[in-house]
């Protein structure tokens, strides 16, 4: 089985790097058109993302939430469940963790951290259990239900941070800060890289092991490859769907907790700039493979962390980063479609 798995990793890396390269070439053309030297700008991008220990730390810090949202997406996509609700679970989990970490007495000390993490995972799991159950029981299209739940999550958390959970000291739309004891430790001060990154890598590894070393993980893969076969083999397809949705919610919630306890220390309206969706891009690019997804998360993290600097040091607008991200996505999806086309021609 090792052969297929190694090949899968290579395919995952190739699927990731080819779209990136093509996107950079096209972005280079855009730069030439607006009168910039693309090599200089890309050099600056690389320099700002990986040029020193501090900059690498900053890149990894930006990559941290993506590790969680990518795994949360991949665990569902792998089972053929097109869950686009990771963003919502990330918000719900983030708020749950922050709430525990500021509302419980500070005297709990370091035990606040596990309590907050568990609360976030539970909140995320319950959040995505619902569309999972709707899918398994009533065949409610999961793309629609999870997409809609994202809006509901944004609305509920938005209401809470502007109402019942509004900080007394802040003007608007944020909760009180969490207790100091609940802060996740910094790994490389003064950079913002925090222990959440290690948790994210651990989640990635556990996901890889789950896929291979548990019956449920193997069943998830079979359900994704061929539902009829899975059903004929006595695998509960609806049970698998609900399982992967709950796991996805728990992981996304954990990501929200990591972001809240390690990066922002409170919950605000602008808690996530779309980590759930960028994580989906990372999962697609990495073809649900842990190695591919780690590389993808770091590359997207690099774009995010270097993008602001680019704007500072050149006349190139920050939008360039969005353009590159968008192009990467388009070519990633194209790359996915190619083998399918080839097969059709043979049939």
């Amino acid at each position: 089985m090792a052969d297929i798995r190694f090949a899968a990793m290579l395919a995952s890396l190739r699927a990731l790097l080819v779209p990136f390269a093509v996107a950079l070439i096209l972005a280079g053309i855009v730069l030439i058109v607006i009168g910039e030297n693309p090599l200089a700008i890309f050099g600056l991008l690389a320099e700002e993302s990986f040029g020193s220990a501090r900059r690498i730390a900053s890149t990894l810090s930006s990559a941290t939430p993506l590790l969680f949202t990518a795994v949360a997406t991949a665990i569902c996509f792998r089972a053929g469940v097109f869950n686009v609700g990771v963003e919502g679970a990330f918000l719900v989990g983030g708020l749950a963790a922050v709430f525990v970490a500021f509302a419980l007495p500070a005297g709990l000390g370091i035990t606040l951290i596990p309590l907050a993490l568990v609360a976030a995972m539970a909140a995320g799991a319950i959040w995505l259990w619902f569309p999972g159950w709707l899918l398994a029981r009533f065949e409610v299209d999961e793309v629609v239900s999870t997409l809609m739940l994202n809006f509901i999550a944004a609305a509920i958390t938005g209401y809470l941070v502007n109402g019942p959970l509004l900080s007394a000291s802040a003007g608007n739309n944020m909760t009180p800060a969490i207790h100091d004891a609940a802060h996740l430790p910094r790994l490389m001060p003064p950079s913002t890289l925090h222990a959440g990154f290690l948790i994210g890598i651990a989640v990635m590894v556990l996901y890889g092991l789950w896929c291979r070393y548990t019956p449920a993980g193997v069943e998830g893969g079979l359900v994704g490859l061929n539902r009829r076969f899975a059903r004929a083999m006595g695998i509960s397809v609806s049970g698998t769907m609900i399982t992967v949705m709950c796991l996805s919610g728990a992981i996304a919630g954990l990501g929200g907790a990591s972001h809240g306890l390690g990066q922002l220390f409170r919950f605000s309206d602008a808690f996530s700039p779309g980590y759930g969706f960028t994580g989906m891009a990372v999962a697609l690019l990495g073809r649900n493979h842990p190695v591919g997804m780690i590389v993808g998360a770091v590359l997207f993290g690099a774009l995010a962390s270097a993008g602001t600097t680019i704007q500072l040091f050149s006349s190139v607008p920050l939008d360039l980063v969005d353009i590159i991200q968008g192009l990467v996505m388009i070519f990633a999806v194209m790359e996915l479609a190619l083998p399918r086309l080839r097969r059709r021609r043979h049939a």
């Binding site: 089985m1 090792a2 052969d3 297929i4 798995r5 291979r212 070393y213 548990t214 019956p215 993980g217 193997v218 069943e219 893969g221 079979l222 490859l225 061929n226 009829r228 076969f229 899975a230 059903r231 004929a232 083999m233 006595g234 695998i235 509960s236 043979h346």
Partner: protein
Amino acid sequence: MTHKNDHAGVVLGADRLSKAYGPVQANRDISLALGAGEIHAIVGENGAGKSTLMRMLQGMERPDSGSVILDGAPVSLSGPAEAMARGIGMVHQEFMLAPDLTLLQNLILGSEPMTAGPLRRIDWAAAEADGKRLAAKIGVEVDWHVPAGSAPVHIQQFTEIIRLLRRGARILILDEPTAVLAPPQVEELFALLRLLRADGASMLFISHKIPEVTALADRVTVIRRGEVVFAAAIADTSGEEIAGHIVGTEAPPPPVPLAARAGRTGPVLALDRLCTGKHQHVRALRDISLTLHAGEIVGLAGVAGNGQSELAEVLAGLRTAETGRIALNGADLTLADTAARRAAGLGYISADRRYEGLCLPATIALNTMAGSQRRPPVARGPFLRPAALLQGARARLDHLKVRYGRLGDPVSSLSGGNQQKLVFAREIATDPAVLVVSQPTRGVDLNGIATIHRLLGDYRAAGGAVLLMSEELDEIMALSDRILVMADGAIVGELPRGASMQEIGRMMVMGADHG
């Protein structure tokens, strides 16, 4: 075989056509000449390259070399539309009819007769007159106003043929047209085709049933592994000779004698008045009752689409019965899910090997061990042990002598016969009391068929009970201890081993008429 530069008198032909898909040479130097008013049979095993040849003759595929001959001259066709415009029509195995439209609507679909005048409408009167005239010409009667989906299968087929004639086809390509018909309907079809031939139409008749070829065709061409290995006038050859060329040097499979039963006896599977509802294209099952004993193979004969596959799915737990009862060794399994049925001793060989029997992109090991992933030794506590998975797979495959490269290869790398052996290896590994077997040899070559028949015989001899469903009546007759005949979702009769094909065929059709 005249294929120098002389294509005179050839209505449709091939001149040294070759076509490769990647490394696979699907057709090599195939030459063929269909004369006017001639029925020319193309025979060969599954995968011999017949479909590729037909696709090239219709312009759906471009040959790598060689050319298609139409009316004595090489042509380059752009596709089925141009082929149709030039008089070549194809009757597909799967009918190209819209099931919800009436036969008349299907007949004119794509070339509707219009009324004259400023308000052009479809001229239904002209359409119906057209249909009636053509039906009368080939000597059949068609009720044009029933939806195609609820018309009998052979009427659907006649409609396809009439539609092609209406659009000017003078050359028909018939792709295994008898596969879906009961024996008396086959006779009706042949009478119709002979009438067409007398009228000057030319036909390519694709089949792998030798008696049909010798009964109907004027000439025969045998294709094996992409090459023409034999071509002759029917008058100059014999069924045995054709069969010999189809199989080539490989020996034909010996018939399977049923061994004496040993081990278990007594009833194992009892079905009591099973019924299911009718959905769109799903046949309803009506009051299916049967008892299956240990050490017997019960064949379920019937024209395709009369409820056999639905029954198999109900037994496997993939479709729910509305009323009735299923009992296995006395335990009620009516409401049990697939996992519980498998655990209780029910194995299932799906008719759809590629999409239900196997997971093609997954590894050989995983396909062999699927269903056992939660049982020791593969599972230990909450974990799965890949080493135990590989070991189990190797043992199962070796037991049936399945030939494979590496356990980590995708199962799609195996040949059809070895894929099916893998499915058997998986299904009998847990020593089930009953095997529900559907189309076990579909897409399997002759040697593979012999092996699979032997496996079924061995399983029966060891006390296993088999419910066998097959579109190959020969297969059912060769293997079954008794034969149940299904028509229109019900069991319409039972015949002992040794019943003749005519008896079975009569029952298949009689049942259909009742329904």
